[in-house]
C-alpha cells in the first residue's frame, strides 16, 4: 500500500458524505446501496464512522460529472480514466467525481459502481495507489463479484496505518495476493488450455505457455467475469476444445474465453453419488478419452465418448497411482506424464511404469 504524499488524514473519526447527483445508468436505490456498501468496506476495518447527509456540505461529496467539470482534471469520455477523488482536506478534499460518460452498473457489465466507489474512498481517506495487483487500491479496474468481495489485507494494512484498528475485538483479515515464486505456493486446480497451462488459486490464475519463460498472473474475473473464485478442480477435453471447472457440487464449461452454458451444471449429472460434495482434482487422458476424478483417497473414471461413469468405481487412488497419496490439490496430463499437486510438491507420474518418476516444487513450471 502507499500513503498519500504528506500523509493527509481526517482528524475526526466521524465523517459525513452526500450523494450530490445520480447517474441515469442505475436506479437511485442501487446507487445508494453501492455507496453505502463501499463505505462499510472501510468502516469495518477502521475506527471511522460515516453518516449520510442530504444537503449542505459533507466531508465527502460524491457526484457524477462530464468532461471538464472545473476541478482542473477534466474527464476523457468513455473508458480511459473513470473517476477521481481528492485527498483528505476541507473543501474539495475527500470528494469523489465519477465520469458520467462511463456505463455504471451493479453487475459485471460496464463498470461496477460499488468496486469503484470503494477504491475512490481509499483516496478520500488518505491512501494512494498500491503496487499490489490484488489490492483494491491498485490503479486499474478489475471486476470481482461484489458479494464475494473481501477487502484485501494490503488495503487493511494501509488504512490501519493511517487511522488504527477498528474497535472490533476480532481483527478482520483479508486475502493476500499470491506470489509467483513463493516456494510455499500451492494450487487449487491446474488444467491445460489450447496448449497453455492454467494454474488456479483463489481469485487468480497463472497462464503459462510451456515454451515461454514469462508467466502471467490474472484475475479469473478478467477473462470469465461469471466464474466464481476458488475453483477446486479443472481439466481440458481437447477433442471438444472445452475446459471443465469444478467448485463444490457444480461445474462450468468453457470453450476458450466463452462460457458454454450460462449457468453451472451439477456434478451429479456426470454420475457422481449424492455423498460426493466436491471434487479435489481431475485430468483427462487424451489417449484413452477417459477422465479421472479424484475425491479424498478415491477416484472415479468417466468415459468422455459414452458420456458416463465407468463401472466398478470408485477405486483407491493408491491402487492405480502408486506413490500418490490422498487429498490431491490438482492434476493434469502433459505429454506422457501425469502431474499431481499435493501442497507445495508436484509428483510426475509415468503411467507406463505406473510410478512417480520425479518430485518437484509445485511452481516449478514458473522458472523461478
Amino acid at each position: 500500500y502507499v500513503l498519500t504524499d504528506g500523509n493527509p488524514k481526517w482528524e475526526r473519526k466521524n465523517l459525513t458524505y452526500r450523494i450530490v447527483n445520480y447517474t441515469p445508468d442505475m436506479n437511485s436505490a442501487d446507487v445508494d446501496k453501492a455507496i453505502q456498501k463501499a463505505f462499510k468496506v472501510w468502516s469495518d476495518v477502521s475506527p471511522l464512522i460515516f453518516k449520510i447527509i442530504y444537503d449542505g456540505n459533507a466531508d465527502i461529496m460524491i457526484s457524477f460529472e462530464t468532461g471538464d467539470h472545473r476541478d482542473n482534471s477534466p474527464f476523457d469520455g468513455p473508458d480511459g480514466f473513470l473517476v477521481h477523488a481528492f485527498q483528505p482536506r476541507n473543501g474539495i478534499g475527500g470528494d469523489v467525481h465519477f465520469d458520467e460518460a462511463e456505463y455504471w452498473t451493479k453487475g459485471s457489465n460496464g463498470y461496477n459502481l460499488f468496486l469503484v466507489v470503494a477504491h475512490e474512498l481509499g483516496h478520500s481517506l488518505g491512501l494512494s495507489h498500491s503496487t499490489d495487483p490484488g489490492a483494491l487500491m491498485y490503479p486499474t479496474y478489475s471486476y470481482t463479484e461484489p458479494n464475494e468481495f473481501r477487502l484485501p489485507q494490503d488495503d487493511i494494512n494501509g488504512i490501519q496505518t493511517v487511522y488504527g484498528h477498528s474497535g472490533n475485538p476480532i481483527q478482520p483479515t483479508g486475502p493476500t495476493t499470491p506470489v509467483t515464486c513463493d516456494h510455499k505456493l500451492t494450487f487449487d486446480a491446474v488444467a491445460t488450455m489450447r496448449g497453455e497451462l492454467l494454474f488456479f488459486k483463489d481469485r487468480y490464475f497463472w497462464r503459462k505457455h510451456p515454451q515461454m519463460t514469462e508467466v502471467q498472473l490474472n484475475f479469473i474475473s478478467l477473462f470469465w467475469p461469471n466464474l466464481p473464485s476458488g475453483i477446486q478442480a479443472a481439466y481440458e477435453n481437447t477433442e471438444r476444445d472445452q475446459i471443465f471447472l469444478f467448485k463444490e457440487n457444480k461445474y462450468w464449461v468453457l470453450s476458450g474465453y466463452d462460457l458454454v452454458y450460462n449457468h453451472p451444471k451439477s456434478i451429479y449429472d456426470l454420475g457422481f453419488p449424492k455423498n460426493v460434495k466436491r471434487i479435489n482434482a481431475a485430468f483427462n487422458d487424451e489417449n484413452s478419452g477417459k477422465t479421472y476424478f479424484f475425491v479424498g483417497g478415491k477416484y472415479w473414471r468417466y468415459d468422455e465418448n459414452r458420456q458416463s461413469m465407468d463401472q466398478g468405481y470408485p477405486k483407491k487412488i493408491i491402487d492405480e497411482f502408486r506413490g500418490i497419496s490422498k487429498n490431491i490439490d490438482a492434476a493434469f496430463q502433459y505429454g506422457r506424464y501425469i502431474y499431481f499437486f499435493i501442497g507445495t510438491r508436484q509428483f510426475q507420474f509415468d503411467p507406463n511404469v505406473k510410478r512417480v518418476v520425479s518430485v518437484m516444487k509445485s511452481n516449478s513450471w514458473f522458472n523461478c
Binding site: D5, F81, L82, V83, Y111, V116, P139, T140
Partner: protein
C-alpha cells in the same frame, strides 16, 4: 503518401504514452518543460517509473505489455504524487 498503418499506430502509441505519463506520472507537458527547472526526467525515465510500479519489465520502451496496461480502464488519481 498515406501514412503507413504501423507509423500511424506508432504515432498514436507515442501520444498515448505521453498523455498517460503526464496524467499519472507527472511527466511535464512540452509547454511546462520549457519553463521548468533543469531536473526534467525525460519520457524514458518516467516510462521506467510506470513499468516499475506495475511490475513490468523495465525497458524504458513502450513495449506491448506496457501499452496493454496503459490501455486498461483505471482511476484518474496519479500513481506518483498527487
Amino acid at each position: 503518401f498515406p501514412v503507413a498503418p504501423e507509423t500511424e499506430d506508432e504515432d498514436k502509441n507515442i501520444q498515448l504514452v505521453k498523455t498517460y505519463l503526464q496524467n499519472f506520472y507527472k511527466l511535464e507537458t512540452d509547454k511546462q518543460s520549457r519553463f521548468k527547472s533543469k531536473n526534467i526526467k525525460p519520457l524514458t525515465e518516467k516510462l521506467k517509473e510506470m513499468q516499475v510500479f506495475f511490475g513490468l519489465k523495465v525497458t524504458g520502451k513502450p513495449d506491448v505489455d506496457t501499452l496493454e496496461v496503459m490501455k486498461k480502464p483505471r482511476c484518474g488519481v496519479p500513481d506518483i504524487g498527487q
